[in-house]
Symmetry: C2
Subunit: 140 residues, 2 copies
DNA sequence: CTGGATCCTAGGCGATACTG
DNA sequence: CAGTATCGCCTAGGATCCAG
């Protein structure tokens, strides 16, 4: 997709945008929650677990803006609002779920790599200098 | 992968972690930059474009910790450090590139949806209050 | 050239309170 | 029930200076 010799940052701007969506804290969780059909505001909230009403509203709006989710209002009392994945939204599930599968398949490899890295960090101080060797105390 | 009736948040924690990686500002850009072979610190920097040395170092470290990138130091003067995708890193490219392709394929749909949404937002002010109607500039 | 330590700001996100 | 408005924390991430 990218020729290879040009900045490569510009060549994948649209990809960057989508990756941000995928990586943000709640979007994909909501998309997955809606995979089996429409849900109401509070149903999504319950499904997502710890999301705040503020973030749910914002995320839903933004998902709607991107055309991934549709919003249907039924002006009764109390009001009823149903959210549903659009065709575009459903199509996004495929690559996203592939990514999810990758995560599960390689979970142990990642865990192992992290453990090994952390172990090395504790053992090799800074290149021979005798250092107390705090495991990178709670600073940053 | 998730039974469907449990919180669903906990069932995909590892996926969430990976999604965050994919979604963060520089990780995938670096992974893609390394797709054709090892690069030195400043070569990656040049390829990425606007990244700060701080973020490059941090991202690289964290990629290394996750076992996606390997770091090889050649202690010459000046020092030479090569970064290369590990097998795990390469395997991640597949789902990530799939996501990238999705982004390109549906770019126009998303653009259209956003334009339509913004247009609607401009028409329906806020329940009658005359609003100037700034289009809420969406940059990055 | 590689990369650590510091400082500083924008904004993501949660908590809470209020409206229709 | 659905949604908005306000506040305040906290972290991502850029700029800069220093060191090996």
């Amino acid at each position: 997709m990218s020729p290879g010799h040009l900045p490569l940052v510009e060549s994948c701007k649209p990809a960057k945008a989508v990756m941000s969506r995928v990586g943000d804290k709640w979007s994909m969780l909501i998309v997955i929650a809606l995979r089996d059909g429409p849900l109401r505001f509070n149903e999504i909230k319950r499904a997502a677990g710890a999301i705040s009403q503020r973030m749910l509203t914002l995320t839903l709006r933004s998902l709607e803006r991107d055309g991934l989710v549709s919003r249907k209002v039924t002006p009764t009392t109390p009001p009823r609002v149903d959210y549903e994945l659009t065709t575009l939204g459903h199509s996004l599930r495929e690559p996203v779920e592939a990514l999810g599968r990758w995560a599960f398949e390689h979970q142990t490899s990642i865990d192992a790599a992290q453990a090994a890295f952390d172990a090395r960090a504790g053992i090799e101080p800074i290149t021979g200098l005798a250092d107390g060797g705090a495991v990178k105390g709670r600073a940053a």
